[in-house]
Subunit: 82 residues, 2 copies
């Protein structure tokens, strides 16, 4: 397992409810890929969402996001944290 | 106070020690701008660092990062989180 930060763009105007719904949709199926979505942060003005997860691979993260209807623009493995 | 996610690029090959040193340099002076750096994650392969903070403004975050020698490429206020 590794830690990933993924980035969604084009989310301008996203609301707290929409962010929660998107996160809930990910969580509902994350187990299929052994992914655990930990946290998400949104900038509704710029339309950017950052999403932190534990997962076996970036591909696993993306498969969940795609099935939930919101593929990530970028997925970075972040092996270092402080 | 608000929550910010900032992004540093061009950090290819950053090590755990270098990430810790950079974070420590921010923390040493963050009080001057009433900023609190909470957490940072690095992808040494892509050279990207994500940094989460509580601060009065994006400009305050940037002033600390600049004085510490590593200005952010992007700073996003993230008023929504889940």
């Amino acid at each position: 397992m590794a830690t990933f930060m993924d980035v969604h763009t084009g989310m301008t105007g996203i609301t707290e409810d929409q962010l929660r719904e998107a996160h809930t949709a990910d969580r509902a199926i994350e187990g299929d890929e052994n992914v655990r979505f930990e946290k998400a942060w949104a900038d509704p003005e710029a339309g950017v969402v950052y999403c932190l997860s534990e997962a076996p691979s970036a591909e696993a993260v993306q498969r969940i996001h795609e099935r939930a209807g919101h593929p990530a623009a970028e997925i970075h493995e972040v092996p270092l944290e402080v």
